[in-house]
Symmetry: C2
DNA sequence: TTGACGCATGCCCATATGGGAATATGATTG
DNA sequence: CAATCATATTCCCATATGGGCATGCGTCAA
């Protein structure tokens, strides 16, 4: 099968560093493709492609303004990701005396291999 | 270049649905590879491969117990993902009267295309 | 030592990139 | 209509899967 299509869900769309940069930049407001490309140091086609992915999963919206196309953030799709990871919060906050002990045991066990 | 290696960072590792299932299941406690495979309906090699990815990005720890290998959750790596998405919280919570209006404008603009 | 069991790997395949370059598409202006 | 600007697409390539299957490897029991 190969990997899931990056356009299939938000998790995949956000797995790409440059796309995360785009989203971060769009927090400051709408941008045209060229502006995005310049500010993030990518080519215009490159920006377009990433924007397409983001658009298809609904993380950005585009709007035509003259011959430009302004892209804006629609972060609602990130909420599921935030909530999913949030479901693990108690695990990374777990009292470290227990976690550290656990990790220590692991290392010891591995040394004994 | 092709896509970034899934073992390169947590975002990629978590982009795979089955790997998210594994992590979710491990919240209930350590599991052997076979147990995981059975409970999630995947083959043993399949489980092993996903576990390897998770291990390489540090989301799980393994421990030898007899001829079994117990995998346990180490969710600390998920924190950056949670925080990154958290940086968009105010955008998805943004007063919907404004967002809805924005979206409405977008749709209208698109119909006029 | 020989099996049997539990996992990890290696192979092969089909698929989905992400990047670069060239080009098609759309829209605006003269 | 022609020229130009802003984007989107298309090709082509190298790479990284994820899945299925067979197999190697380490461990424990008889």
């Amino acid at each position: 099968m190969a990997r899931a299509a990056t356009t299939s869900d938000v998790f995949n769309a956000v797995a790409e560093p440059q796309r995360r940069e785009i989203l971060a930049l769009l927090r400051a407001g709408e941008r045209s493709v060229t502006e995005l490309a310049q500010e993030l140091g990518m080519t215009q086609p490159g920006a377009s492609k990433h924007l397409r992915v983001l658009r298809e999963v609904g993380l950005v919206r585009d709007r035509k303004v003259g011959k430009q196309r302004l892209y804006g953030l629609d972060a609602r799709g990130l909420r599921p990701v935030h909530e999913w990871t949030g479901g693990f919060e108690r695990f990374w906050n777990e009292s470290f005396d227990r976690l550290d002990e656990y990790v220590r045991d692991l290392k010891q066990a591995q040394q004994e291999e």
